[in-house]
Symmetry: C4
Subunit: 203 residues, 4 copies
């Protein structure tokens, strides 16, 4: 089965997740004074941190998903269902982000958040392993396979570290979580899909 | 008329339905204690069950829709309108899921939910029958037709059973409903579209 | 400029509009009795009518938009901006639908709703006139042009009649509005795009 | 890497932003009188202005984004991440629009709004500079490059002027902001992508 619709559904879900994160920012009552506005904006610091962290993590998932589907151009029934299962914890993230914003001191909430992201990572890994094993369209080199798995497992490990950091300070957890997209952004090794893309530039 | 836009609209609607299910999870007041947080998380059990059930069912619809449009590559005016009619009860599901989460003891709510899903199933069946009869692009074998219809009608039957189970226990209904995606996932017979897809792997 | 992205943006906006209509259905408090549930469901009649009417009208806009873009395969800057302008009143419809559901007795609300739909119709007409005049890809026959304009203007006229009917009874207005998608569904004349599509079936 | 999915994600995010702007319009209590309805509609003036301004600005971003991706048909890792970074302030706009609607007298809110738009503009500029420098598919003429940069920087300048105007009157700011889409609409110079598109009309 062609992967076009799976890509379209996933892009849709991730686009909505990225955009509704902000629905957790509630505009306060109309009769606030200017002092009230400043107090309100100061209170937004915690929701804003929680929102930027999730925005970064979901962006990294999207990049990872695009990289997987760059190599895997068709899938069987299991591949489609693993993708749908991956979307399940992803759709939990806007709620968990709001919960983190409100309960920014509770490490339990941060652990729940990290556990959900560990699940996302493991399902992405399953998607890659199942998809790359079966796919026939392009040979996946051992190097690509190793770097793809390493990158996903790195994200999983980072979430476990972030969950542990919550016992010290939940803001430290946020700092660990945000490292995920930053490292994705700077990571050199897994660039083969971009290079492949480069050779297709002339379409 | 080409089916591209119908696929895009349906992917969009289903992606939004999957993602806004979680908007029913409301974050409680800020001044909660840790004990209050634990109580709140315990209360989330019912919304969580309702959300997972609907996520599974809508995922199954999406798989089914993708399978139908795998065979039906063009449609007339009726085909487009049947698709739009199918989306109408689908967009009711987030509201009905919230209602189930809140009124998890009321079998009336479960019956409403099941009835909406029966309607979704019957409209999917109409979509397949109308689309496959007219479609010229690929011959649909009798085997494909039988298994496609069987799979859709099986979902309809399961929803009727689930509605009946509500008189015993509404959680039993949830167990019956969730069987739909699980059986889709494991079902062997209707795999022809994946095999067809397999032959197109090299694009 | 290629119209792919304009189609994607429009499909996205219309998919969201169709899906968030239901966000106006609020689940009542948890401590309701069964009698309270029945009363609540009875109260949903007005929101449900308002929702079905808008779902039908937006579906008709989508069909119309797909028909226009079937003929118009590229556009200039004005074409793109007319499309964006068309989306402006369309995004007002979920709010106006909620307003209609709440103020189902006030003809002023129905007039606002109809006026917004008249604007949508006139902008669709401008889109067609501007797009079909300039488009070079396919000749648009006088017959197609006449039936396309007739169908759009018919929707505009129906909205004006529906607004007038609000002085008699706002439910009569709903009945007039819902005639729009029903007539689109049954309308014979404007079928050329389906026939054109038919000849492309073998892709 | 192919840009298809980046276009799909961006179209999705912008479509949602355009559509959820209206969620800030809250339908008042049911037991309002007709006088109350009129008062409510009069109060909608400020939210409506804020909504139209943001709708116009986001539309201009979409047109600009489509123009950039008309020339840039493939991108490296940085290009993808710059695009994701661009989406971050864009998803803030619905919240900031609601804030402007509620605090229409506070110039601080208008400054925040303008600053977010300046960020959007600078990230669009980075996207263009990074994408056009590397892209190999089509030569970008110096004229196209100059007009593209000019147009983006013009929007940035307009936002700075609009922020300054808030000290005089926040409605003047709105008037300045709305000039952005109006000038995009009427701007002659940067039409090369439409002309390029024109030559592709016959597909």
């Amino acid at each position: 089965m062609q992967t076009d619709r799976m890509k379209a559904l996933t892009d849709g879900v991730l686009a909505i997740v990225l955009t509704i994160l902000v629905l957790g920012f509630e505009v306060p009552e109309h009769d606030f004074s200017q002092a009230g506005l400043l107090a309100f904006l100061a209170q937004l610091a915690e929701p804003f941190i929680a929102y930027v962290v999730t925005f970064g993590i979901v962006s990294a998932y999207w990049i990872q998903h695009a990289a997987i589907f760059h190599y895997v151009t068709a899938g069987d029934r299991w591949f489609f269902w693993i993708n749908l299962l991956f979307l399940l914890p992803v759709t939990m993230l806007p709620f968990l982000t709001n919960l983190r914003a409100t309960y920014h001191d509770e490490h339990l909430v941060t652990v729940l958040y990290a556990a959900t992201n560990v699940l996302c990572g493991l399902l992405l890994l399953a998607l890659w392993r199942h998809g790359s094993r079966r796919q026939l369209a392009r040979r996946v080199s051992a190097e690509v396979d190793r770097s793809m798995r390493g990158r996903i497992l790195f994200g999983v490990a980072l979430n476990i570290v972030g969950a542990g950091a919550a016992w010290i300070d939940t803001h430290l957890s946020s700092a660990v979580f945000i490292a995920l997209p930053l490292l994705y952004l700077s990571h050199r090794v897994v660039d083969s899909q971009w290079r492949d893309g480069g050779s297709e530039l002339a379409e």
